[in-house]
């Protein structure tokens, strides 16, 4: 199961990419999916959601250890556009704030 990591010239039409966020390690508060910048990838480290939503997220491919890529953030604090494996989905910011991530890097 390879996840797309190879750099390419795509996705440059988006606004200039911000500097990569340094992942929080050890005692520092964990980084949340809702904080991820567009054009960045991360690995899911925790899912602090109720069981119903956990099932739905897992069925859509969002589980611990899975790599996700943030394609864009919606206008007016709208939902996030994510890519997980071969699936693209939208997730509200409030819900993304319950997903912990690490390993942040820019990728296509």
């Amino acid at each position: 199961m390879a996840s797309p990591t190879a750099p390419s010239g795509q996705a440059r039409i988006l606004a200039p990419l911000p500097a990569p966020i340094q992942p929080a390690r050890g005692s520092a508060p964990e980084t949340l999916l809702s904080d991820l910048a567009a054009g960045h990838s991360a690995t899911i480290s925790s899912l602090a959601v109720e069981p119903g939503l956990r099932h739905r997220l897992q069925a859509l491919g969002l589980h611990r250890g899975q790599r996700v890529h943030l394609l864009r953030r919606g206008w007016w604090a709208g939902p996030l556009h994510l890519r997980i494996g071969m699936t693209e989905l939208m997730l509200r910011r409030a819900d993304a704030a319950r997903v912990g991530i690490d390993h942040v890097a820019v990728s296509p």
Binding site: A6, G61, P79, L89, M90
Partner: protein
């Protein structure tokens, strides 16, 4: 029901996640002769179709699309109840081949339940395009189930799929152990169920859920191991088309204006093509009636009352409505393209920020858009929502969606009272009003139905629907509309005609007739809205279904040809009165079916009555404000 299954028709359930092309596959397998089936113990209707397989009559059942057999949505509960309460011979598991990396989960769950199954990996064309390669024999071996690559859209692999289902059926009456007890229980209850008592499946569900819960922990590891051994994903995302289109269509600034421009263009197109076709059809029907049917009836020497009933009642009423079928067909054609292309999911993404602030979400918006076709399936669509508050609030706003039945009335009235360019503006204004009413309703009542539900929605890759697929779908929708509506239309126009012509001897449609009396009786209530007694009668019948309004008007004014009917109406009604009537028609109760489906889906009488009451109050208020304002500024 005996334990031998030889004479019993085989039951084949089609199970799959949303966005896997499950319904397309179902239609391709059955030749779209599906009908709605009733299942004891299930509160919902499932599509089913008969199929001849291996010399045996098989019933193919299309289960609702679900993500997870352990999920918490109503659809997921429905599927669980179905699996627990029905003796199933084969489960056809439909998965999206290119998304096997997550969808394999469902196949594993079915396998864990020990249900005899055939796994179909659909959208094989897409998987190939995206560079996903699957080792089918290895995957089949890991699952212990037959696995096939198919493409329902292009009709590939369906013969083999039928063959595998046949083989699985022939493998014998394999009763899964969790069902044997249930089957005998159902058999014991069979005579009782004739008296209307559906077998209670509740006690069977826990065992199914327990079984799934048992394996849930080890599922991810098993899935990862199987995937690593059998599926190869592309090192890089290959769908450049989707990437490029999304950059424009989901643009933070341009996205929404582009979406609404597309919608506006779509409705303009439907209007531009559909209205002339409708006019032509309507005048043909009218000429046929006058030139062929009327002389025929006269030559048979039928009494004048009966002749009038058949011609002016039945024929004119039905003719006027059927002339609008092309417009409805065009509407479903366009909506089908928008939906199947993947743009509709993008609309949910674009609108979610606004919807969230109204206490709704992106799905509510999409359902409201679907409601522009027909409110009934849109309300059924709220089943995907788990939060009761969110579901109720969405059900409260959907009826304000200007459905195709109401569009018929508006297209006709716009043509009767306005020039074509003004008419297009009036229609567009009514669409805006429809949105405004939904937004106002959500704003006013979001506090009462407070709901926080997480929203995760798939954004499928853009797809080019095949012309055949879209045409078949639009045709099915029109057929459904017509089969469903004709009953109401026939009863409605007959009732309107009788009310307008009874008691015998008084001038038709005059104040002395029953409808005249009804109109006069209700007139004080509607006087501030400017709606006259004739139109009041049409509104009363519109409560049953909006399809009747137009047929009713044709009967009331004694004209079937829509242009002549328009002239007859314009002679008696001013344009502000007409607009007021349109506003009222737009906002009050869409039809009895919508009321019935709100009642059955909400399971709450008080809520159902509230939706009726609120829509009437809003309709009356808006019409009155408009009419009184028009009087004030002297538009009369």
């Amino acid at each position: 029901m005996s334990s031998s299954t030889a004479c019993r028709p085989a039951t084949v359930a089609v199970l799959g996640m949303p966005n896997t092309g499950k319904s397309t596959l179902f239609n391709k397998l059955t030749g779209s002769h599906a009908h709605i089936g009733n299942w004891p113990g299930l509160t919902v209707d499932l599509m089913q179709a008969s199929l001849e397989l291996a010399g045996r009559n098989a019933q193919l059942i299309d289960l609702p699309g679900i993500y997870d057999l352990r999920g918490h949505s109503e659809d997921e509960a429905v599927v669980r109840r179905f699996l627990a309460s029905t003796a199933i011979d084969v489960v056809v598991v439909v998965l999206n081949a290119s998304q096997l990396d997550r969808q394999l989960r469902l196949a594993l769950q079915v396998q864990e339940l020990g249900l005899p199954a055939v796994v179909l990996l659909n959208m094989a064309d897409e998987a190939k395009r995206f560079g996903v390669s699957i080792n089918l024999p290895a995957l089949g071996e890991h699952l212990g189930l037959p696995v096939l690559l198919v493409s329902a859209k292009y009709g590939r692999g369906l013969g083999e799929a039928r063959q595998e289902i046949r083989k699985a059926l022939a493998a014998g009456p394999l009763q899964p152990d969790h069902l044997t007890a249930q089957a005998s229980l159902a058999a014991a209850q069979a005579p009782g169920s004739l008296a209307g008592a559906a077998p209670e499946p509740a006690e069977a569900s826990p065992s199914l859920e327990q079984r799934l819960a048992l394996v849930d922990g080890e599922l991810p590891q098993r899935m990862a191991a199987i995937l690593a051994a059998t599926v190869q994903l592309p090192p890089q995302w290959r769908d450049r088309l989707t990437r490029r289109l999304d950059r424009v269509l989901l643009h933070p600034v341009l996205g929404l204006p582009l979406f609404f421009a597309t919608m506006l263009l779509m409705f303009q197109g439907i209007y531009a093509i559909g209205v002339p076709v409708q006019g032509l059809l309507s005048s043909w029907l009218s000429q046929f009636g006058q030139g062929v049917l009327a002389p025929l009836l006269a030559s048979w020497g039928l009494p004048a009352f009966l002749q009038g009933f058949l011609m002016e009642g039945l024929y004119q009423g039905i003719g006027t409505v059927s002339a609008f079928l092309p417009v409805i067909f065009l509407f479903f054609l366009a909506m089908g393209v928008v939906e199947d292309s993947g743009y509709l999911s993008r609309a949910a993404y674009l609108m979610d920020a606004l919807m969230e602030r109204l206490g709704l979400d992106g799905r509510s918006f999409v359902l409201c858009l679907m409601g522009f076709g027909c409110n009934v399936p849109a309300i059924l669509g709220t089943r995907v929502m788990r939060s009761t508050g969110l579901r109720l609030l969405t059900m409260l706003v959907i009826p304000f969606s200007l459905c195709s039945a109401r569009l018929n009335v508006f297209l006709f009235m716009a043509a009767a009272f306005f020039t074509p360019s003004q008419g297009a503006l009036v229609i567009f204004g009514l669409y805006l009003m429809s949105f405004a009413a939904a937004i106002l309703t959500a704003l006013l009542f979001q506090g009462r139905f407070a709901a926080k539900e997480a929203l995760v929605l798939e954004l499928p890759p853009y797809r080019l629907p095949t012309p055949l697929q879209i045409l078949t779908r639009a045709w099915a929708e029109v057929r459904h509309f017509w089969f469903w509506a004709r009953r109401f239309i026939v009863i409605g126009v007959v009732a309107v005609w009788l009310l307008n012509n009874l008691p015998q001897g008084v001038p038709p449609a005059s104040a002395q007739t029953l409808s005249g009396q009804l109109g006069v009786l209700l007139h004080p209530l509607l006087a501030p809205t400017g709606i006259d007694p004739n139109l009041t009668v049409a509104l009363v019948f519109g409560f049953i279904a909006k399809e009747i309004v137009l047929g009713g008007l044709a009967v009331i004014y004694g004209q079937a040809d829509t242009s002549l009917l328009g002239q007859a109406m314009a002679a008696q009604v001013s344009w502000p009165q007409a607009v007021s009537f349109m506003l009222f028609t737009l906002l009050y109760v869409p039809c009895l079916s919508t009321v019935a489906v709100i009642r059955s889906e909400s399971k709450r009488l008080d809520f159902t009555l509230f939706t009726i009451g609120w829509s009437l109050v809003l309709a009356w208020t808006v019409s009155t404000v408009f009419f009184q304002f028009s009087r004030l500024v002297g538009w009369h």
